[in-house]
Amino acid sequence: MTETMTLQVARYRPEQESEPTFDSFEVPFRKDWVILDALNYIKDKLDGSLSYRWSCRMGVCGSCGMMVNGEPKLTCATFLSHYLPGPVRVEPLQYFPVVRDLVIEMTDFLVKLKSVKPWIVRQQEKPFSEGEYLQTPDQLDTYKQFSMCINCMLCYAACPVYGLDPHFIGPAAIALAQRYNMDSRDQGSAERLDILSQHEGIWGCTFVGECTKACPKNVDPAGAIQQYKLTSAKEWFKSFLLPWSAK
């Protein structure tokens, strides 16, 4: 078995370079190491200037998403052993602007996420004295899958539509909108409809389906988008056939 493995890591130092280059690093191969362990080894022992994001190293925080051999992966959940005998190519998430090395600029995603109001919207809050908004396990089950999203943006890096049209609102934002639309306590679906039904909303999606394959949490954003297309079309027919009925 190989003792070491080669990592080809994308470097971009804007004060030195006009475009990214690759640096090769030899890291010890260990069966229990994930890509993130190898990156941490590089930063500790080989080159302290390597920049990348990470936090929880257990697939919860969604910070360490990178392209591993061209596929969007959480580097904390992707084992070196999967890529034997190497080399492994590590790049920043594609379709996002690169700030430095493996660090991408995510403001675009955060703005889009906020635009779909991913929180429970109530027309009127009930007073505290009436207690919580109750929900049955079945009601929870209808949206639970979509609520597993950790905002890691792997689905954006997997989506060629987002790459070609940066205005596309994107898989995770739509899946999270759907998570709140399907929540029995929420009353904000009409407010989200206007944003989601735009061309840059659900109709931008051509159902490539790669977002669902890339998702480390089995959220199925592609499914969420298609379901919402159905909802949006139904709403359109309703407003077309019954223009007098309030939305």
């Binding site: 602007p97 690169v98 060629p160 070609l164 389906g209 790669e210 394959k213 592609a222 298609q226 159905l230």
Partner: protein
């Protein structure tokens, strides 16, 4: 001496990659997607052929016979065969995607995907049998 960094408006030092025109050639999944998008051309081709056939039928027996003769020429036969393959690809992938767009819940439980896809195939088969019966009975 390294070349100076390229400055872009507002965010001088971010690096942005351009998406290649041939992005779909990078993986089999993307290629399959593009092929599926292309099937729409062949669906449209079948629609046009059907319309031309109806027009020939309206113009009388001679014109219809001529049209049928044209259909037997090598080029239309090859084109029809290729179109059939693409249309089949379109249909099968469409039926297989149906469960993703329509999660049907009965009694609080989501029905397994094959149960959504299967009725599509059954309806397809039933209609095909009906059409075949209408055409071949005489």
């Amino acid at each position: 001496m390294k070349p100076p960094p390229v400055y872009t408006e507002y965010h001088p030092k971010w690096y942005r990659t351009r998406v290649s025109t041939y992005w779909w050639s990078r993986s089999w999944a993307y290629l399959k997607f593009i092929l599926r998008e292309l099937t729409s051309i062949f669906v449209a081709y079948f629609v046009v052929i059907t319309l031309l056939q109806i027009r020939a039928l309206k113009q009388g027996p001679q014109s219809y016979a001529q049209f049928q003769e044209w259909l037997r020429m090598p080029l239309p036969v090859v084109l029809n065969a290729v179109s059939l393959l693409f249309v089949l690809f379109h249909t099968i992938t469409w039926f297989n995607l149906a469960p993703r767009a329509m999660p049907v819940r009965i009694g609080g439980k989501r029905i397994a995907d094959p149960w959504i896809a299967a009725p599509n195939y059954v309806a397809w088969l039933a209609i095909s049998v009906l059409v075949a019966w209408l055409l071949l009975r005489g």
